[in-house]
Every structure is written in C-alpha cells, then in structure tokens.
Symmetry: C2
Subunit: 449 residues, 2 copies
C-alpha cells in the first residue's frame, strides 16, 4: 500500500529534479513522513541525494539519515561536508547519531564529532556495542525527584519541552542520583496536583544494565508491556532509556536472523536487494560447504551397503523418499522447539518432557506414514517383504528424526549456541546419513540379503 | 532470569497453599506483576486456581485472565460462578474480555455478558474476528474537539481519568464524529495552555478500517513508530484504538507462525508443552503426507533411470549428497526471500531482479561447490569422468535450486498464498525430484551409458 504511494512520490520527485525544480522536489519530500522520505530518498541517485540533503530542513535531513539503512546512511554521510554533517547529527536522536558515527571511517567520525554542539551527549554512547542496552538507549531523559508534587513535575516536564516521545514514563532519582521510581505521564495527569511523586511512583522499576543484550531488553519490554526501559550503570545511576520503537526494530531483526539461520545462511545485514551477489554468496558458502562435508557421510553409508545395493538395485528407489521424509519430520520438530525456546516456553530443564513429547508424536506420525508407505510400495510392484522393509524404516526414521530434531536445539541452547544455527539444514543432513543406515540395516534383516 | 524467579515464587505459593494459608498465598501473588502472576497461576492445580481466583482482588484476577493463554483462560473462566466471572470481565480491558467471551461456550458467554455492567462496551467487539483491527482494538478512548484549548484538553483527560495507557495519543473528532486529527499527550503538555487543539493537532492521521488484518496494522505501527493506531468504521467514525502492546504480541505471533510454517508444520495455537501430542501430530501430518506424496516422484525418476543404475551402482552413492546440497541451497534462498517479502523489501514487481540476483549467486556457489565435489569424488576413487558428472550436476542443481527457491515464494506472494507455506520442505522436495533428473541426465551424457 505504502509501496505504491512511495513509488508515485518518487516519480514526482524525479520529474521535479529533471525539470531543475529543486524547490519543488524539496517541497514534495518535506510533505512526507520520515519512513516514506527515506524510501523515496534511498532510490534517488547519489548526486541527487547530496544536493537535496544539504537543502532540506535540518530536521528532515536528520530524520532521513535515521531512517535509511545503516550502511546507506554512512555512505551518504561520508560524502557530505563535515560541517553540514555535524549540524544534522546534532538534530538526530543521540543513539542514532552514535550508530551513524560508529559506521563512519574513524577519522571522519572524529572531525564530525568535534563539529557537533551536542558531542557530550553522543560521546558516552560510542563506548557501547550497537546490540547492547547502552547502544540502543537514548541519554535524553527527564528525571524527577521524590519530593516534587505532580503539578511541579508537569511544570518541570513542560519547561524542558523534550522533543521526543520519551516522556511517557518519567523516572525518579534519589539524592545519590540512583534510580528509585517510575511514574507514567498518565499518572501525573490524573493524580491530585498536590500529591508528592513518592506517593504516586512505583518504586519497583524494571531496569537493565548498559551491557545487557538487546534481545533480553526486548524480551523484558514485551513481557511487561513497557513503553520505555531505563538503563543503569554499575552504580545503578540512570544513564539512558530504551524506547518502544527500538523494541519493535529489535524484534524484527531477531526474527529475521532466526528465519535466515533456519534456512542455513548467515543473516544479511542489509535489505535483500541492496546486498550484492558476492555478499549473498559469501554469507551462504560456509554453511553450504559444512553441510556438504557432513552430507558426504551419506556416500560413506551407501558404499558400506554396496553389496546390498548390487543385489537389489530397487533399494535405491526409496532412498530419497525415506531420507526426505526423515528430514521433513525433523524440520517440523526443530522449528517448533526453536520457537518455543525463543519465547521461553521451554528450556533445557524440560529436556526429557520435550523429547518424550516428540518421541510420542513421532510414533503416531511414523505409524501413519509407515502404513501409507506400505501401500505405496506395493503399488510400485516391489513385493510384500520390500514394502515391509520400507514401511518399517519410515516408522523408525520418523521417530528418530523427531528425537534428533528435539535434542539438537535443546543441547544448543544449553551450550549457549544459537539453536537456529544447528537447525533445519544441519539436522536434515544428519538425519540423511543416519536414516540411510537405519534403512539398509532394516532392509538387510527383513530381506535377508 | 524471570523463569527462575517465577519458579521460586511458585514453590512459595504452593508451600502456603499446602499449609492452608490462603491469605499468605494471595499476598504473594498480589505482590507480583501481571505476567509473573499468570505464570505462577498457570502452574497451579485447577482446584487451587478456582479457589484463589475468587479470593484475589478483582483487578488482579482480571490481569491474570488477560495474561493467561487464551485456552487456559477460557477453561478457567468456564469453571467460575457466572456472577464472579462477570465482575472480573468488567475489570478486564474490553478487547481482552471480548476475546475471552469468544472462547467460552456460547451459552456461558451469553450469561456472563448479561451479568456485566460494561456489556455495552464489549458487545460491539464480539462482531469482529480476533485477527482483525476490530478484534484487536479497545473501544476505551478519549476524544477531543478541535476548538478546545490545550489546558481544557488536559482537564478533560484528567476528569475522565482513563485507567489505561491509551491516552498518549488523543484523537480529535469533528462535528460529524469523524476522525480529523491526532495530538500526543506530550504535545498537549508542552504546548501553550491557551493554544487551540486544531493548531497543535496533526490532521494527517494514519488510520485502519475495522476489517484490516492484524498483520497490516502491526506493519503500519512498526513503520511509522506509532504508540496507538486509530480504528474507524465505514463512515470514518472513530470506533477504537490499537495499542503498542497489541502490536508486540502480533509481531511475536506472526514470527512464530512463519518459523513453524518454514519447518513445514501448521502453527500451534498454544505454548508447546501445553499442546497435546495428538494435536502436535495432527498439525504436522497433513504436510508430512503431502510432502511424502510429492517425494514419491523421486522414486519415479529413479525407476526411469533403472538401466543406468543397474550399469553403474556407484551412481547411487552420490544421490543423497546431490539432492541434499540442492535442498540446502534452495532453503537458503527461500528463507531469505520470504523474510524480504515479509519486511516488504521486495515484492512481485521485483521478480526478475530477485531471480537474476539468485541465479548469479547460484552460479558463484555452484562453481565453488562443483570444484570441491570434483576433488571429493576423486578421493573416493570414482574416476575422472564420474567425478566430472558429479561436479557438473552440483553446479546445475545449485543454480536450479536458487532459481526455484526464489521463484516459488514470489509466485506465492503474487497468488496471495502465505509464502512460508510453500517454502522450506516443499521446495526441497521439489528440488529432490528435479535434481535427480538433472543428475542422471548429465551422468548419462558424460558417462555415455
């Protein structure tokens, strides 16, 4: 829906630029909301971007740099005059400015930072990794004291006139500057104007340390429906705030990572079409190779059963079917368990409950699939004993795949490896080799080869 | 972290209950935050839950029913006295109360609804499906008029004393009750007290219709960083509000659905360990069967090449390796494209760009993998021509898998089928059969069988 709108606006902006009507182009862009501005802007030519960015209102230029993908923003910022860049950086949210500075070449970042009026706000943020609470937080916050009245608190907030939406939770600090309470703006408005903050505030504040991982921050905010999460340092001093829009970005990024890893590829850092073919291939080749090496095990198993294959070539007909079904059953299990782990519905202590759950589900599935495979093998005219071997193999392989598919992600979580990494493709590769072994062993026994 | 805390609290509550100290147990539960209350509560025995729920403060009971999983909440509510249930429902957020009523047997829901004081707020919500904007929204909202001053607006909000966090965006309606603007509570506080609402408000309000799908609502809120999204009916009358905590739940649910579908299983509606083995198996069997039937194609292909297999049994050794690698390359592609589609980074109009991107990535990957396969086949002592056939097949299969892996999700999106449904397992099953055909055709040509 917005995509069509953005495409049409892009066409209009381009038409203005081609007619050398810079003012017209600027008016169009300034009429848009920031995410749409960034989308239109991102599709212009580099030269056009540079010209426009320096003519736009500084606040719009700041919004655009915030909304662009990190690498695109850094590339564009690197081409600007350092003075112009410093002015725009001053207008950006401090956490976004810090991220952008972190993506610039060190020398450029140093010069831009020196030119900034609000360098002091941004500098402490540069110390923290992007994916920690310290990297996500904004240091712009309004703090209250316990002895203030609700009326005084509102007047205080009004006098600071914060320009961001960080005021919906206001934090209270004690004489040692330690975080000691939280009030929502709603509570302040609704409260008796003469009530003291310490009477209204909730002293039990959920907080995170600057080093906390962003995924943990997001999980806390999602669990407790928080609009803002305070960040403290080693001495419990309030140093910043994570807002709900950051939470949403983190949730999306983490889901993207999980989904790409499930497919057996390193996550891409940028939108798909802006990622070069070489990078795409590079992100995948390591996994593809590792899986290839593991998969060569299947060849070893097959050569081990060369005699059986020589005797009955028809055994080979069922190989892809059997290992494919094992892989599918295993994928169903891993993807379910991985998600349950991510949502903290299960953890390693549920090991036996989970595995037992999956084994039973595997038996149910295996019996049904085995029965159907038996019928199918008969219609291929393979004879009853062969059909029996195939259907028994399906049963055992499905149960085995469910077991492996549940054990692997749980073990990974225990060893603090991201369970998605050893998931999908890795699990099916493992099930391929072991499944073949199960199949030929059963066939050997049933067919007495 | 919270899990350990919840477990310890659970042990304490159980100890109180065993000592027949109901008051002590209630005091412990009432000291917790709602999500923790629900976790502790959910692990108690049904009998204990009933006894406790009727003794807890109504607001705590309401929080617990809101936080429990839908089916658990419905089960528990169904066991309560209808009067007690009606009192608790009155205290719940109207959208949550409507969801719960929708999950009860119709006769019970009717009686409970009749007992409610706020039935009129909940009744309209029952008309909308859970997964639409109308099902997500809360009808509790504060509206302003354009001619009010900022001071009057704040006084109006204070006089209504809304008990939820829905006041951070306040919506303005015109004389025909149509939505005509939005102001944030921050703007009201910071504004000159005598300024009129129509001067402060943003008249360009992003809104959704009651029938809009929840995923679209979540996407709009995430894109534009909205804390609340207004919902309108056919006449553009403001009928409700979707808040950011609903957005977070939708994002998590949608990611769960995508991940489970990628694994080739219908999404579970409940937390993993509360889902019975039969349900787990049932959610999977349809896909497993469908894939099984598709996978029998591989047997057909193999039987078609029976002569070649009879001549050189060693051809079979490479079957799992080749189709496995094809499946892996295809999975990498589908999972990337599916995520790019979900984030709207690409759509069907990018068809040729995407496919071309993947084909080139496939050629890069295929050349590398083919070279390695050539070496590996030689060390297995298969002879140069056989090694050549294998490595050529790998190259073609990887390129083919990348192509299929990008075309399928794009086509699904075009046909408005959820791309995850035809993803992972389905794609690899398809690549298995076609990969075999490619392999044997190449082997036949190279080895002149």
């Amino acid at each position: 829906m917005e995509q069509q709108f953005v495409d049409r606006m892009l066409a209009l902006v381009r038409a203005r630029l081609e007619a050398d009507d810079l003012k017209g182009a600027i008016a169009l862009i300034e009429a848009l909301r920031p995410p749409d501005q960034a989308d239109v802007f991102g599709d212009l030519q580099p030269k056009q971007q540079e010209v426009l960015l320096s003519r736009l209102q500084v606040s719009d230029a700041a919004d655009i740099l915030e909304e662009l993908e990190d690498e695109d923003a850094a590339e564009l910022a690197g081409r600007l005059e350092m003075d112009a860049l410093a002015t725009i950086l001053d207008e950006m949210e401090p956490d976004e400015a810090a991220d952008l500075l972190g993506d610039l070449p060190p020398e450029q970042a140093r010069i831009a930072l020196e030119g900034m009026a609000e360098a002091d706000e941004v500098r402490p943020l540069l110390k923290h990794p992007d994916e920690s609470a310290g990297g996500l937080m904004t240091p712009e916050l309004v703090t209250l004291r316990r002895w203030m009245t609700a009326e005084e608190a509102i007047a205080h907030i009004r006098s600071l006139a914060p320009d961001s939406e960080t005021v919906y939770y206001v934090f209270v600090i004690d004489d040692d500057e330690r975080l000691c309470g939280v009030v929502s703006l709603r509570q302040l408005i609704v409260a008796d104007p003469t009530a003291r903050i310490e009477e209204i505030m909730d002293p039990e504040v959920i907080r995170v340390h600057v080093d906390t991982d962003q995924e943990e921050c997001a999980r806390l905010m999602a669990r407790y429906d928080l609009l803002a999460l305070p960040v403290v340092d080693d001495d419990d001093h309030l140093v910043g705030l994570i807002t709900v829009d950051d939470l949403v970005d983190v949730l999306e990024d983490e889901a993207t990572e999980d989904i790409q890893r499930l497919g057996g590829a390193e996550p891409l850092d940028r939108p798909y079409l802006s990622t070069g073919v070489l990078t795409v291939a590079w992100k995948r080749i390591r996994w593809l190779l590792l899986l290839f090496v593991t998969e060569t095990l299947t060849g070893t198993v097959l050569r081990h059963f060369k005699h059986e294959l020589d005797t009955i070539v028809a055994l080979a007909f069922f190989v892809p079917l059997l290992i494919g079904t094992g892989g599918n059953a295993g994928s169903q299990t891993t993807s379910t368990i991985i998600r349950a782990l991510a949502l903290r519905e299960v953890d390693f202590r549920d090991f036996f409950r989970v595995v037992w759950h999956e084994i039973r589900a595997g038996v149910l599935l295996g019996v049904v699939m085995g029965a159907i495979a038996f019928g199918r093998a008969l219609t291929w005219g393979t004879g009853t004993t062969m059909a029996l071997a195939v259907s028994l193999s399906i049963l055992v392989i499905v149960v085995w795949a469910n077991g492996v598919g549940s054990v692997l992600p749980l073990l990974a979580a225990k060893l603090r490896i991201d369970p998605t990494v050893i998931s999908g493709p890795f699990m099916s590769t493992l099930v391929d080799a072991t499944g073949l072994f199960i199949y030929f062993t059963i066939a050997k026994l049933v067919l007495r080869i």
